[in-house]
Symmetry: C2
Subunit: 317 residues, 2 copies
């Protein structure tokens, strides 16, 4: 009989197809587990598959007395209470780096779309305003990429790929992270100093309790009126109310957002703004990225059910 | 008295400000010259400022008996009849390379916006469809940049900058141009072979009579159903009717277009398509690119009125 895996978050069926070939999936569809399955059904569950951003704390873990592995689809694991997992001898796995290029590329896409105002441009052509030679203040020339100062917050695999891409656009790259690395980019000792220096702040930091609302009204003020913020990490890193205020009163010029505080919800005060480009958390959402993430999930689950350590295990906090 | 320069095309006033400090501008606003100025006023005109894509043939040149210089704002000069100019001893100047990075960057912006479907993504968030968990077939994962085959048609300054940027995205780069260069990209001897190989065809060739409708139904067929075409050169390079047909019947997957056959007009059959991202010919439209192009225009006009050769002169055909 196939090993059972409980699917804790809501995933499209197509993303689960390869797992369903190897395991018996109990799919909650993202609903509270106890609404979908009985205690009896849950008793034998030894492994969970989850999206790293979905909250998964001690109480949820205790629904599964035999739980030994929580496997996150993707790089992030910020929703998982690592201490609670460690206390219960539950291994936590993820897919490190599998989606790094795909996420870095959505960061570049959002930056370019925002700074070159591609939504406005597209609408200007489609509406016929261009043909009618109508004025469009939003279409005034803006600074381009050569010489632009890009500040990367977080220098993991995604941050490095963003930096390498920006360098190819002839931009200057600076970064702030807890650790200073041997990299050909200017290091800033604080996020504030990076925000003062750069005109695009790329948020690529690993999210967690220590990064909650780190990009706040103060940092946005340092970024300034020609500044853009691009977030492909987690919504929690930005104080979203402060961002709405900064975008509304032109404290900053614009934003590109793939992530939000309460997904899949983006408040109307945000989505009504013309100087923002939105994406529905599709950073890791490419064919090859999904294959790579699925490979990590399969390797983690297979090893676990064979009694071996997870090959892609999150180190306990 | 300041030297007179006739402004032959329609330009925003802000783009003319630096020229107006040095020259007396006779601005047609893009209207037929004789509708705006009398023969008397035109008699003394020795220099024209034009957009390279505006048609400017023998008849127009003959409106100005003393004309000695046609200065194009930008890189292109495809609208100027070079033979007619040479026959009249009129020097033709342009701004080579001044906007190359800016144009390459709009090519990258259009490619990423199209392949990552950023217009659909943005609308999915803004409309509330994401929050409502509505299905969106357009949002299915697509191939990303790593390993993607990018075909660059034309390897001038813009083509090289596109290639360098694509390489940083971990894509494979191939190219076709009349000349094979010592470059680290795969060379294809025909456009057809390049279209067969690549999944994104980037049109960066210098436009002219020899490139008219070179990207036709046949080439689009070779590009194929997973293929995208991005045009930042001139609208004339693509057979626009064939492109509309290929996009409508899904012969190709999508397109990113900054240029059109009859600007500023884009036909409804094109602008109603969801799988295209449009821009109103803003490739060279960044602050630093305008400054660089204006520097070339000023250098050309200043040299001309001092009786010197144009520093940025187009070589006669």
């Amino acid at each position: 009989m196939a090993d059972k895996v409980l699917v804790y978050s809501r995933f499209p069926k197509t993303m689960m197809a390869r797992f369903a070939e190897r395991f018996e999936l109990l799919d909650t569809g993202g609903k509270p587990t106890r609404e979908v399955f009985s205690a009896d059904q849950l008793g034998g569950i030894r492994a969970l598959l989850t999206a790293g951003g979905s909250p998964l704390g001690a109480e949820a873990m205790d629904l599964f007395p035999k739980l030994g592995a929580i496997v996150c689809y993707g790089t992030g694991f910020d929703g998982v209470d690592l201490k609670a997992a460690a206390a219960r001898n539950i291994a936590v796995g993820h897919s490190p780096g599998a989606n790094a290029a795909s996420v870095a590329d959505i960061a570049m896409t959002l930056m370019l779309a925002t700074t070159r105002r591609i939504l406005v441009a597209d609408q200007y052509v489609r509406s016929g305003d261009w043909a009618a030679s109508k004025q469009s203040p939003m279409m005034r020339p803006q600074a381009g990429m050569p010489g632009r100062r890009i500040g990367v917050y977080g220098m993991g695999e995604i941050g490095r790929k963003i930096a390498a891409r920006c360098a190819a656009f002839e931009s200057e790259v600076g970064y702030f992270s807890r650790t200073r690395y041997d990299l050909p980019y200017q290091y800033f000792p604080t996020l504030e100093a990076l925000a003062d220096w750069c005109s695009v702040l790329m948020i690529a930091v690993r999210a967690g309790a220590d990064t909650q609302h780190v990009v706040n009204a103060d940092i946005l003020g340092h970024l300034g009126k020609d500044g853009y913020v691009v977030n492909i990490s987690r919504g929690s890193v930005i104080d979203q109310n402060a961002l709405v205020a900064a975008l509304t009163d032109k404290t900053i010029a614009g934003a590109g957002l793939d992530v939000f505080e309460k997904e899949p919800h983006a408040p109307d005060a945000l989505t009504s703004l013309p100087n923002v480009v939105f994406a529905p958390h599709i950073g890791g959402h490419t064919l090859e990225s999904h294959v790579a993430m699925q490979n990590c999930v399969l390797a983690n689950l297979t090893a676990y059910f064979e009694g071996k350590p997870l090959p892609y295990q999150v180190k306990s906090a």
